[in-house]
Symmetry: C2
Subunit: 73 residues, 2 copies
């Protein structure tokens, strides 16, 4: 099986974690200081997100960066 | 102790791993399809590197993305 791209792994983990926290995209965006439409596009793996924004989202979710980038087994 | 920023963690891990592989910044840049000066600035944590470029560097080092973002203990 081909390894998923880091973008897709992040997108999937972000969505899963956000939902587990009971947050809308808008609520997460507010917590992270980002725009709602930006969070949506990251969750669709459309954006080549930067490390600083990955970190903002991880903090907003009380998660950490390596965890959000780890492929689920 | 304050948690290091993801940028700094990545910068440090990248340098460590590159040296462990016996690669110069130029050799790593060639392997990853990036510019030597770009790799240098990433290792100084000056750049807000994108997820796609993090992945290129991880592949060039036969490492993986979460590993390069994990804080060393």
């Amino acid at each position: 099986m081909q390894k998923a791209s880091a973008r897709r792994v992040f997108a999937e983990n972000l969505r899963k974690r956000r939902r587990a926290r009971g947050l809308s995209q808008e609520a997460l965006a507010d917590l992270a200081g980002l725009h709602r439409t930006y969070v949506g596009s990251v969750e669709r793996a459309e954006r080549n997100i930067s490390i600083d924004n990955i970190e903002r989202l991880a903090r907003a979710l009380s998660s950490d960066v390596p965890e959000l980038l780890a492929e689920s087994r």
